[in-house]
Subunit: 195 residues, 2 copies
């Protein structure tokens, strides 16, 4: 009887997480690694996007050289790279935190779960805003806007636009990964509240 | 002694939230009301943005009439309005949910806290991406991009641009409110896990 009472109190107050919490942390670790890969690749593909185009003119005039590269959109694409870099660094730091927590699950895991849930959501907001900014500029580059006379540029700079598109697909993937991470980290907090 | 044990077990398992949880829910309700106001106003200011400009030409030609309005950017600004509308509806639904929970705090409050924490973060992502898309297009309208020949339009359509700017400031405010809501809802979940 005494043993039964002890078991009941232990189940209500014990800080040791069950096996399923470790499983969730493993999934979280995998997702954070994928986030690191997606954001890192997105930055690399974006900053290497450069295309030079020669427009042939009649002699004696020399050919006109036009260059498209990522830092010719100084505000948005740089914001995109800065925001994706923040997410990339965060994915690394949070993956290390999750890995340490997997080895020592009882050390301040409640605070860590709270911080992960909050910062996952914050980074989701940052990456989503950067992706929104990038996609909107890329869409104008692809389609133009005849109402205000903004011409499409992707018919001239196809290789450059493929870089931008690839980078945006990767940041879109990072956004999806972050939604899954938010779901996982809030669910982990929820599970802790039910123990 | 028996009374003390009973108290201990009650403290570990009781679903009734303490006064501070009610206080957090009140703050949450105020923030959700502000979110509703900010997103509703942002949509109203955006969709009413229209400016007609007459460019005087020499007789016998009639003056050239140019119109700027929000649906002349069919993809991005429409996405902006759609995303902000989703946030507006969500703020209303979640405010009602929080108000119901304040009246009946013991009814499925754990699941509600989890859903609020997850959907607050998801809506933060949606509003942030819409704000990012809107700001990037508005910035090109304000400054232009000489590298690709996109002219600035805000020197011609100043009133229209003030509408766009006002709407984006309001959606920026909605983003900040959502960050505070995410902080509050994850902290509420965290507090529940420590009880």
């Amino acid at each position: 009887m005494g043993s039964s009472e002890d078991d009941g109190i232990t189940a209500a107050t014990a800080p040791t997480p069950p096996a399923i919490t470790g499983g969730l942390s493993c999934i979280s670790l995998v997702l954070r690694s994928l986030l690191f890969a997606a954001t890192g690749a997105s930055i690399a593909v974006m900053v290497t996007g450069k295309q030079t185009k020669e427009i042939i003119s009649l002699p004696p005039f020399p050919p006109l050289v036009m260059v498209a590269k990522f830092d010719y959109s100084p505000s948005f694409i740089r914001y995109f790279v800065a925001a994706t870099s923040v997410a990339c660094v965060y994915s690394l730091v949070s993956a290390v935190g999750t890995a340490v927590w997997l080895r020592r699950p009882n050390s301040a895991s409640g605070t860590l779960s709270f911080l992960l849930a909050f910062f996952d959501a914050l980074i989701l907001g940052i990456v989503a805003s950067a992706t929104g900014a990038g996609v909107s500029i890329a869409y104008v580059g692809l389609r133009g806007n005849s109402h205000v006379g903004w011409i499409k540029i992707c018919n001239m700079f196809d290789k450059f636009c493929w870089h931008i598109g690839g980078s945006l697909v990767l940041s879109g993937a990072a956004t999806v990964i972050l939604v899954l991470l938010v779901m996982l980290s809030t669910f982990s907090l929820h599970r802790r509240s039910r123990r």
